[in-house]
Symmetry: C2
Subunit: 158 residues, 2 copies
């Protein structure tokens, strides 16, 4: 259904406004979908996000601030997210030897197991998208979103 119908707004002041609103709406939609998927595994989207980043590191530890960067999150929240993962046994936290301010985080075996249980479910859902958009279209949207975020650097001196 078009965003016009979904939010019952007929006119937008520009294609860019429509895009901004649609982006937020679609992200909410996606967020609720994911919430539903993750709920039964006693984990949140944010926590999954951290675990995915940790897995990407293989056994290489990663700092809290680097995780926060990749999530566009505040350090303080990431700190507490990792607390939760620690309590559940999905991550380990050790002091970084080269910089004692920093904290090295790695995923545990239990964490990897959790991901391997969640992955097929997520994958199935993602592939369900192919019923509505093609792979080429998905790639197209993704690359246009990349382009859109580039306005960041353009706007900095305004």
């Amino acid at each position: 259904m078009s965003i016009e119908t979904d939010i019952k707004q007929k006119k937008f002041r520009s294609a860019f406004q429509r895009l901004a609103i649609n982006l937020t709406y679609t992200s909410n939609w996606l967020g609720y979908k994911q919430l539903e998927l993750f709920k039964e595994h006693d984990i949140t989207s944010q926590q999954y996000n951290v675990l995915r980043i940790l897995r990407g590191q293989q056994s290489n530890p990663i700092k809290v601030s680097d995780i926060a960067d990749r999530m566009l999150d505040k350090n303080s929240n990431t700190s507490r997210l990792i607390d939760k993962l620690l309590v559940k046994g999905f991550a380990k936290r050790t002091s970084c030897p080269s910089d004692r301010r920093a904290v090295d985080v790695v995923i545990t075996e239990t964490g990897l197991e959790l991901l391997s249980r969640i992955d097929p479910i997520l994958e199935e859902w993602e592939n369900g998208l192919s019923a509505s958009i093609t792979e080429e279209e998905a790639e197209l949207v993704s690359s246009l979103l990349d382009k859109m975020r580039e306005s960041d650097s353009n706007n900095k001196n305004q």
Copy 2:
């Protein structure tokens, strides 16, 4: 910058996974931008969202649940969002005469004034996007997001 570089993940299991992750990332990016814009007007993105919907109604009142629908939000949160707008004098709440369970919400003059102050700022930011993507591309992304959300109905019986 590409999402691969932003989140430093080189491989995705599919174009659809990349899209899902990129969508969340870009929406967070947009969210922080808006937060910044709204902050000095003592209002949140969510509250602005409600006001925008109320303005779209002109003087026609709208029910709390209808607002929630258009925001993909929970009724309970919308209820409290409106509380905030009420306190600030941006919205009015009256009992619906035809259905006394419902609550009619309308925007006030003060609310309209606030929007008219915020609009040009938002508009300027939105138009700043044109430095990175064209109007045609914005429309394209928007329509593809619409298409993407259609998998909702497809997935319902799975």
